[in-house]
């Protein structure tokens, strides 16, 4: 394709290496003006790297960038903004206790000749944008008081306020409810109608088909294909993304739930600020059942897990495993009562990144035989055990026993944690966001493992912000909202709309079973 001003962005032969790793290998990209262009790829495929080069975060080792048919050099994000490129990152960069208004103008305030902020003028400008694109945000609300979806709009508003024409959205739907995703897609269409161009980084196939005009697929740093997402199905997209065919539907037989293993009754937990985050929550998990908790981030999920692991104080209520109450004891006691957890934040809670894989593997078992004897570690046993698990769970690179966990990819770090927790032979396995940040292949693997443990008769508590994951994996779906279970359904009993509504706090008296 030749360079022309019909294209907002054209990238030619972009190459980038990190150390000896080639993140991008002569990638071309053509984004037509006024379109929504999706960049699809697995984690680590290079899509974010490509966009970070466009936004001036990284310097490419080779290749050229053309904006509106003119060659440009983008040396830092400031230059990018000057050229009309804006980027909304996965993690928002907002000042929590500032208002929406203050956040939007921060860094490019409208001032009068004395250098004092001209609030009236600034407000006019911001409100103009809000009305033009149909954002419904309250300019005087503080960031800490508004929902994640709203915060995202503030980020977009920030970019528009700076006059950008090309907006890069990095995994924008990861933190949103289904309704919020619909709203976002609406806003995106509105922006395009007003002449903006949007580049959407994502690995969610469904949204691409709902929102985008063009989709470019990147795999292992190479351009694979550019397709019209309306004309291909999700399976084809997934196959192009990972390079082989994948099953998008979790393969499992109906559950055969047995007796109750785990029971929470009327649990209340306060968060770090001292506010009640879990408010009288009750649930039961049976043997051989996956109970999935669906919900938007910040509705008490974190505090619930912390209370079960005895890291947070249960103000009220009981937590019982196999009939024993464990609330307000110690994490060691929870582990001893055969609760194992795949934590949400694997780098913070799950692994000691500077420990080797084998040291991480015995993190809970170091003081049990055969890994130690009379307080002395037995390295031979540790190595043997780790090698077995590395082989069983296909943790790569093979032979990584003595390598620091930091050196593994995210998917392999997760495999390490999963193998460790499953080999504890727990009665209750808690999996919190077990596929966060993993690519399609690894997600399939993690799901298979959870189903396998279920079929062995384990009770599994799945907590995830990905509604699709909860809906496809769980035998029983519980929706958490405001620290309470807002509704419980058997798989297949409720559709995405019903659950999405409950997640957002809507829905009248839900069926409580």
């Amino acid at each position: 394709m030749e360079i022309s001003d019909a294209y907002a962005v054209q990238m030619r032969g972009i190459t980038k290496t990190f150390g000896s790793f080639r993140a991008l290998d002569h990638v071309d990209l053509d984004v037509k003006k006024g379109t929504i262009h999706a960049l699809l790829g697995e984690n680590g495929a290079g899509k974010s790297t490509l966009m970070n080069i466009l936004y001036g975060f990284y310097k490419a080792d080779g290749g050229d960038i053309y904006l509106n048919g003119r060659k440009v050099r983008i040396k830092d994000p400031n230059t990018a903004i000057k050229h009309g490129i804006g980027m909304v990152h996965q993690h928002f960069m907002l000042v929590e206790n500032f208002t929406v208004m203050q956040n939007v103008i921060l860094g490019s305030e409208v001032t009068n000749h004395l250098g004092v902020i001209d609030n009236k003028k600034a407000r006019e400008k911001v409100m103009g944008i809000v009305e033009q694109y149909g954002f419904s945000v309250d300019p005087d609300a503080k960031i800490e008081d508004i929902s994640v979806g709203m915060q995202q709009r503030v980020e977009i508003l920030k970019a528009l306020y700076r006059g950008v024409d090309i907006l890069i959205l990095d995994e924008p739907t990861a933190v949103l409810t289904p309704q919020e995703i619909e709203d976002l897609i609406g806003i995106m269409h509105n922006l395009v109608k007003n002449g903006k161009t949007i580049i959407l980084i994502t690995h969610k196939l469904k949204e691409i088909r709902q929102s985008s005009d063009v989709c470019t697929i990147i795999r292992r740093g190479k351009l694979i294909d550019t397709v019209n997402p309306q004309k291909v199905d999700e399976e084809t997209l997934a196959e192009k993304m990972v390079g082989h065919s994948v099953k998008l539907i979790v393969d499992k037989t109906p559950a055969q739930p047995g007796e109750t293993v785990f029971e929470i009754d009327n649990l209340s937990v306060k968060d770090r600020r001292g506010l009640e985050a879990v408010k009288g929550l009750s649930l039961k998990v049976h043997k051989g059942e996956i109970l999935g908790i669906a919900g938007v981030d910040g509705n008490g999920q974190e505090e619930l897990v912390e209370a079960v692991m005895c890291l947070a104080k249960a103000e009220n209520g009981t937590i019982k495993i196999n009939g024993n109450e464990i609330q307000n004891t110690t994490p060691a006691n929870a582990v001893k009562n055969k609760i194992s957890t795949i934590p949400e934040d694997r780098q913070r809670r799950g692994l000691v990144m500077n420990f080797s894989c084998e040291q991480n593997m015995i993190l809970e078992k170091y003081n049990q035989p055969p890994f130690s004897k009379k307080g002395i570690l037995r390295n031979g046993e540790v190595r043997k055990y780790t090698s077995e698990l590395i082989a069983d769970y296909d943790i790569r690179p093979s032979g990584c026993e003595a390598m620091p966990a930091r050196g593994l990819s995210g998917g392999n770090q997760q495999k390490l944690i999963i193998s460790r927790e499953i080999s504890n032979d727990p009665d209750l396995l808690i999996a919190v966001q077990p596929t966060r940040g993993l690519d399609v292949g690894a997600i399939e693997y993690v799901h298979k493992m959870l189903v396998r443990e279920r079929d062995k008769g384990k009770a599994i508590l799945l907590i995830s912000l990905e509604l699709d994951e909860v809906m496809s994996l769980s035998d029983t779906i519980a929706v958490i909202y405001g620290g309470k279970i807002a509704g419980t359904f058997k798989q297949g009993q409720a559709d995405e709309k019903t659950i999405g509504l409950l997640m957002a706090g809507g829905g009248q008296n839900a069926v409580n079973s």
Binding site: S20, V335, F355, Q359, Y366, I376, L377
Partner: protein, 374 residues
């Protein structure tokens, strides 16, 4: 290039480069002040090695700071910054002196009792910091600085109590000789001892002119033992896990608070051991009123730092430090340059060790440059 990068990334390399920079900066300062740096360095090294007794004194000087260095390095492995080694040393020295003076048992009992008392005293002083940290979350740097001063003034108060104070001096009575840990302290002054030593002049010089003691053996043994504890035992595993990632350690059921406390007790005990070895192994075998800190603990911070937190590295860093401290006196007496030049050197070395991340960044860049040319 890859090889250069690899070598640059080794901690020992950054320590050595820092030492070279220490000498360079000292040379510049000396030249600016009108002294010949070569002469000054010559005086420094002859002050360390020219005579057997010099070298013996270097080792004696190094012994306590190897141990306090170990103390700091050990706490650092659990991410605790034990700036309180100084206070733990002072408190333990006081306890050892008082007990050593009041108890008079046979050496086989006296020595172990005094050593254990020193270890326990240091452990308690460090443990207070640990408890305050574990129970109330008070930062260890704050509490240990406070405890340094408390130990200093407590010690000064005790020195001046009538029961312990030696009249017409600034110190207490010395400990009883049964608590001495010098090498053959009575034999070497006996007739047969003198007769024997006469035949070996260097040994005679070392034995009779310096307080050769068992401390260095204890220090080396402790360094190896601490390495073993950290890397081969379940306790050490816990402590390192807590040090590297407290959140993960907590999550898998390790008792983080207990681990922090244990680490502070062991750290304090090592400083206490340093004090016991000094009081029992060197003249004047007592404690005196302190006008200021003697830096036995603070020097341990520098030693641990130069050693990169490695227990075995503390032995070498401690010897280097001891050598500078002792040999540095010769710089003043021989060429008249102020001995503070040694402090500048040590300061520069520590400064460049702190900058060692820069060196590893340079190494990264080298490796990267290499890859992009490939």
């Amino acid at each position: 290039m890859q090889l250069t990068a690899k070598i640059l990334k080794k901690p020992i390399t950054s320590a050595l480069i820092s030492v070279v920079f220490g000498f360079l900066v000292a040379a510049v300062v000396l030249s600016a002040a009108g002294y010949n740096p070569w002469q000054a360095f010559g005086a420094l090294f002859s002050g360390m090695f020219a005579k057997p007794k010099y070298f013996s004194n270097v080792i004696i000087k190094a012994t306590p700071i190897i141990l306090t260095g170990l103390s700091v390095a050990f706490a650092f492995k659990t991410s605790l910054f034990n700036i309180g080694a100084e206070g733990q040393y002072i408190f333990a020295a006081m306890v050892v002196t008082l007990l050593g003076m009041k108890l008079n048992m046979p050496a086989v009992l006296q020595i172990p009792v005094l050593v254990l008392a020193g270890v326990a005293a240091g452990g308690i002083w460090g443990g207070i910091v640990g408890i305050l940290k574990a129970k109330y979350g008070i930062h260890e740097v704050i509490t240990s600085i406070m405890l340094n001063w408390i130990a200093l003034y407590l010690s000064n108060y005790v020195v001046n109590l009538q029961a312990f104070h030696q009249p017409n001096s600034t110190g207490t009575y010395p400990i009883n000789t049964s608590g001495y840990v010098m090498l053959l302290p009575t034999w070497k002054y006996s007739d047969s001892g003198k007769a024997f030593l006469k035949r070996i002049p260097w040994l005679k010089e070392v034995m009779l002119k310096t307080d050769v003691n068992f401390g260095i053996l204890v220090a080396v043994l402790m360094a190896v033992l601490m390495w073993f504890v950290l890397y081969r035992t379940t306790k050490g595993f816990e402590m390192r896990a807590v040090g590297l990632n407290r959140d993960a350690a907590e999550f898998v059921g390790i008792n983080v608070n207990r681990s922090l406390l244990e680490s502070m007790v062991i750290s304090g005990a090592l400083s206490g051991l340093a004090a016991a070895m000094s009081v029992m192994g060197m003249a004047p075998h007592n404690i005196s009123t302190l006008a200021a800190f003697e830096n036995n603990g603070f020097n341990g911070l520098s030693v641990a730092f130069i050693a990169g937190g490695s227990p075995v590295g503390c032995i070498f860093a401690g010897l280097l430090f001891g050598g500078f401290l002792y040999g540095g006196k010769n710089v003043q007496s021989e060429i008249g340059a102020p001995s503070e030049i040694i402090d500048i050197m040590i300061g520069t070395i520590v400064f460049f060790v702190a900058l060692s991340t820069v060196i590893s960044k340079i190494a990264d860049r080298l490796a990267k440059g290499d890859a992009s040319h490939a």
